[in-house]
Amino acid sequence: MRERTGNVAAEAREAFAAWISESDDGRVFGEVRIEKDGSGYSIRHIEDEGGENLDVSTDPTDAREISRFTESGEYRPLKSSPNLRRRWELRLSGEAALVSAMNYFYPAGAVHWHLDREGELETTSFRENASRQSGMYERAKHLSDEAAQNAAKACCEDDVCLKKTLWDIDDDTPLEAERGDGEIPCPEPCSVFVSFARRVRSFEKEEIYADSDGLTPSEKEDIAALVDGAASGGVSFAREAEFEEPVNERRMRYRRLTLAPKLRPEGESG
């Protein structure tokens, strides 16, 4: 990594605060809207524009509690997932409190936003990141380009993660996934992605056990779990980063890319 000069965190704080102050109706960052409020700042969920019946707090560290669980009480392992709960407002006294709260909502988001705007955000490709892995994540190294592309489409697009994906597979292989339109850059595969990539690698490895229709054991397990769930009145989803379980949203998104075409060959759609 390149040596940095100057105080990046302090510059980011000033730039972020100035960006908020420049705008009359505030700025959207992930799922929150930040507005200038007298000499301080107000942060709310974008869906709570009306501002009625909100739990108001002035403590920036309350952002941590707010961002820990979804509306229905599920733990949020990925803060940029579009499932931030609603009905709260933070009224913060100054720049330091603003950035401290933002670092709980979107960890390192403000500093990455600033570095990106300055053209100084360094990105780390999937291959570079994977080659660093050791222990249980080492397996992600062996993922093929095609599977890595599909893993990113399943794991990183705006439906499941609001960050703008800036990294590529490697220096010569750009990412095919929709990178996203949000303000928060993602400079490097996160640990949720690496864990997902490890699971996708195990899907790839079992391809040699595919049956005569081309279906692999875990694909059949997923179909059976969906049928069982639907037949008993409701498919219940596994936790957000529980990739070992069949009915996990990202795992299903991966199946849509790789299994659905096998079940519904060209010309038989509908």
């Binding site: 733990y75 390192a108 500093v111």
Partner: protein
């Protein structure tokens, strides 16, 4: 300016793992002081170790791993992800001190004893009493058990309990055998773990047949405590660990 960065393992599946780290950080900010910034980072949660230093404004940074023993995480993963050269790194205009893990630190026995005192407050325990320190243990890493033995020895020297024993989940001596065979009327089991989790909440009570905090059977009362790492006094231990790293670099 000085920053304290606490490194936790974190989890993709539940919030129990990072919660004590956040609580200790909050306590250091609010009550203990000594740092202009106190920041949390994790292996499996955000902010990641890779990016946390970018969020720190201070030029002097103390990194304390919230891990019990020296091993894979403290020796390989943390230095690699944070880009550290050793106990002292100069990087991006910052001086970064890397402190060791918490288990072998001299203040650890006090935290264990505070946890024990909290568990036993208001409970009757007449007769002989044994304290059993429960470690994870693993065949791959000798330090992991070494640090449990070290704390047992340090507590034994204080002559508070009739017996101080150790037991492990993944290696000998195995915890259920230790609890069963220890010759004392009261047995206090304290998990020397950083956070609550699947082991402390489910596998341990289940395998040892605990009914909650107190289980009475075969003429023995077994008291089961919460993990050491969630005790509020860990915050002090973490801050002291950072200060010690500073003193060591000045020496």
């Amino acid at each position: 300016m000085k920053a304290l960065v606490i490194v936790g393992h974190g989890s993709h599946l539940n919030g129990d793992s990072s919660l004590p780290i956040y609580e200790h950080a909050a306590r250091i900010r609010r009550e203990i002081g000594g740092f202009d910034e106190v920041v949390e980072c994790f292996w499996k949660e955000e902010p990641s170790m890779r990016h946390v230093l970018d969020t720190v404004e201070s030029d002097e940074v103390f990194i304390v791993p919230a891990f019990i023993s020296q091993g894979y995480f403290t020796e390989q993963v943390i230095p690699r992800e944070l880009g550290l050269d050793g106990s002292l790194t100069e990087k991006d205009g910052k001086t970064i001190h890397y402190a060791g893990p918490l288990g072998a630190f001299e203040g650890m026995p006090d935290v264990i004893l505070e946890r024990t005192a909290d568990l036993m407050r208001g409970k009757e325990a007449g007769g002989t009493t044994a304290l059993v320190l429960l470690g994870h243990g693993t065949d791959l890493n000798k330090n992991s058990s070494g640090v449990i033995y070290l704390n047992a020895e340090r507590i034994r020297e204080r002559n508070i309990y009739d017996l101080v024993e150790v037991g492990f989940l993944d290696q000998e001596p195995e915890i259920s055998g230790v609890v069963e065979n220890v010759e004392a009327e009261n047995v206090i089991v304290i998990p020397v773990f950083i956070a609550e989790g699947w082991h402390t909440r489910e596998t341990i009570p289940e395998d040892l047949g605990f009914d909650g905090e107190v289980t009475v059977r075969d003429g023995k009362a077994v008291f089961y405590g919460a993990p050491v790492g969630t005790h509020p006094s860990m915050a002090r231990l973490i801050a002291d660990r950072a200060r010690e790293a500073e003193a060591a670099s000045l020496a």
